[in-house]
């Protein structure tokens, strides 16, 4: 296919060498290991600590933190957003985070006003 000069075809230059590939693959397997271990820890904690026990609140917060950690690795490494230009990275992440934090804030404040119904 001829290159059209009215289309900026970045993808054509988006290659890397065997040497760079090797480094990347090493990183991918490292992240795989981390994700698997974190999932195993979560399941272990979930089966071990019962809801409503004294430890539960701590475990719950830990679950959320571990989930965010996993999400971070998936987005930044697997979806390689961490390697994109900074502008792009924040244009993707910031609006999402602002909207979500706002919605979580609303959910938590208003949630407390909703009575228990069975």
């Amino acid at each position: 296919m001829d290159q059209r000069d009215d289309i900026i075809e970045y993808s054509l230059y988006n290659h890397h060498s065997e040497k760079e590939g090797k480094k990347l693959r090493k990183k991918i397997w490292k992240v795989t290991l981390i994700l698997s271990i974190v999932t195993a820890v979560e399941v272990f904690l979930g089966a071990l600590v019962k809801q409503g026990s004294e430890m539960w609140l701590t475990v719950k917060v830990l679950f959320v933190l571990l989930t965010l950690l996993k999400a971070g690795y998936i987005v930044l490494t697997f979806m390689h957003l961490g390697d994109e230009k900074k502008t792009l990275k924040w244009i993707i992440l910031l609006p999402y985070l602002i909207f979500m934090l706002y919605l979580i804030f609303i959910g938590l404040t208003e949630g407390a006003s909703v009575g228990v119904k069975n």
């Binding site: 230059y13 060498s17 399941v43 994109e84 609006p95 999402y96 228990v116 069975n118």
Partner: protein, 358 residues
């Protein structure tokens, strides 16, 4: 894997600022914008789920109690199956990213291999989800009962096998008193003994008390139920009635055990027809109606995304085989498909935490 161009781009074809501020292809940028909007949708679902759950207080089902079954084996394995599903999806995400990496080296063989692995992983995940849905819809052998004092309870323990029904009052199909009905000669309408038993319980066609239950079948036959005793039947009170307080998930001694008469209470409820088995959109045995609706909607919407992902991956895989991307000089399409596939994995990570763990 680096997204930005390594060569200078002719400044005459750049944006007004002479160059693209993002240095990525159009398709990839649009895929990211789509994923942000899709992520907002899933985020909204999960926040709505949390909001609804909070408003129901303690009556909401608990992940490790609800999801503790494995295919082909008996017993309780809390969260084992969903953990396996999560692991399968993570691994298929890894094979996908390895495929993208191979594409950047123009390694067609590598892309082919990893794409195939990703498609297989996706199919295994959707298959697992189908089993989980089926298990969720059919429910447990005990179901959820409403006890005589108005409290609502789920049950744990080993359901005693139903061996046969012994005809007491003949009906249309079974005309002889004393005839034994087993899975071999039961009518098609009744299905099998277990199915007939649950159907009769829900329709108030059971009577008697534990150990001496009578069943009325579809054809009007009344029969005595020959059933082995349940082992270690425990009732977990989900919402309190006038007599029994709600059980604490953290303390198994707050359940009603056999010594406290769990068997008599359970079969009294069955004979009154106060039982729900499995799940549909109107009611479910696990908790409030909204719980079942959220389960079907959120995991269903995610499963739909996985299915679409598999379809996209198959199309990309066929193009890789045909050499379309090799001729084009780059494998960006694999990368775009990869972004979508990782997103599906990302959503599952959150669904796993908020639906099953917490």
């Amino acid at each position: 894997m680096s997204g930005h161009a390594s060569n200078e781009i002719n400044a005459n074809v750049g944006w007004d600022g002479k160059g693209s501020p993002f240095s990525v292809g159009y398709g990839k940028l649009m895929m990211w914008f789509f994923l942000v909007s899709d992520a907002l949708t899933f985020g909204a679902f999960l926040i709505a789920y949390g909001f609804t759950r909070y408003s129901y207080g303690g009556a909401w089902p608990i992940g490790e109690e609800t999801f503790d079954a494995l295919p082909l084996v008996h017993g309780s394995y809390p969260l084992a199956y969903v953990a396996l599903m999560t692991f399968i999806l993570i691994i298929s995400s890894v094979t996908m990213v390895l495929g993208v990496e191979a594409g950047h080296r123009m390694d067609r063989k590598g892309v082919t291999k990893w794409m195939l692995a990703t498609i297989l992983g996706g199919l295994i995940f959707v298959g697992s989800q189908a089993w989980e849905w089926s298990h969720f819809i059919h429910g447990t052998k005990f179901g959820r009962v409403e006890l005589s004092d108005g409290s609502v309870a789920t049950a744990k323990g080993e359901f005693g096998k139903i061996n046969s029904f012994e005809v007491v009052k003949p009906g249309e199909h079974f005309t002889e008193v004393g005839e034994l009905i087993t899975n071999e000669n039961i009518s098609e309408e009744d299905g099998d003994l277990m199915h007939a038993f649950q159907h009769a319980a829900a329709k108030r066609h059971l009577s008697g008390s534990a150990g001496a239950m009578m069943i009325t079948l579809h054809d009007g036959t009344v029969a005595k139920i020959n059933k082995e005793a349940d082992k270690d039947l425990q009732l977990i009170i989900k919402s309190a009635g006038t007599q029994y307080a709600a059980s604490s998930p953290a303390d198994e001694s707050t359940r009603i055990h056999e010594e406290e008469g769990s068997v008599a209470l359970y079969y009294e409820a069955l004979s009154k027809g106060n039982v729900v088995y499995g799940a549909n959109l109107q009611q479910n045995e696990y908790g409030p109606q909204a719980y079942g609706q959220f389960f079907f909607f959120v995991t269903g919407f995610h499963g739909f995304h996985v299915s679409i992902g598999i379809l996209l991956n198959i199309i990309i895989f066929l193009n890789v085989l045909k050499g379309t991307y090799h001729k084009r000089g780059h494998y960006e399409m694999v990368e775009k498909g990869g972004l979508y596939w990782h997103f599906v994995d990302l959503v599952w990570v959150f669904v796993f935490t908020f639906f099953y763990l917490i």
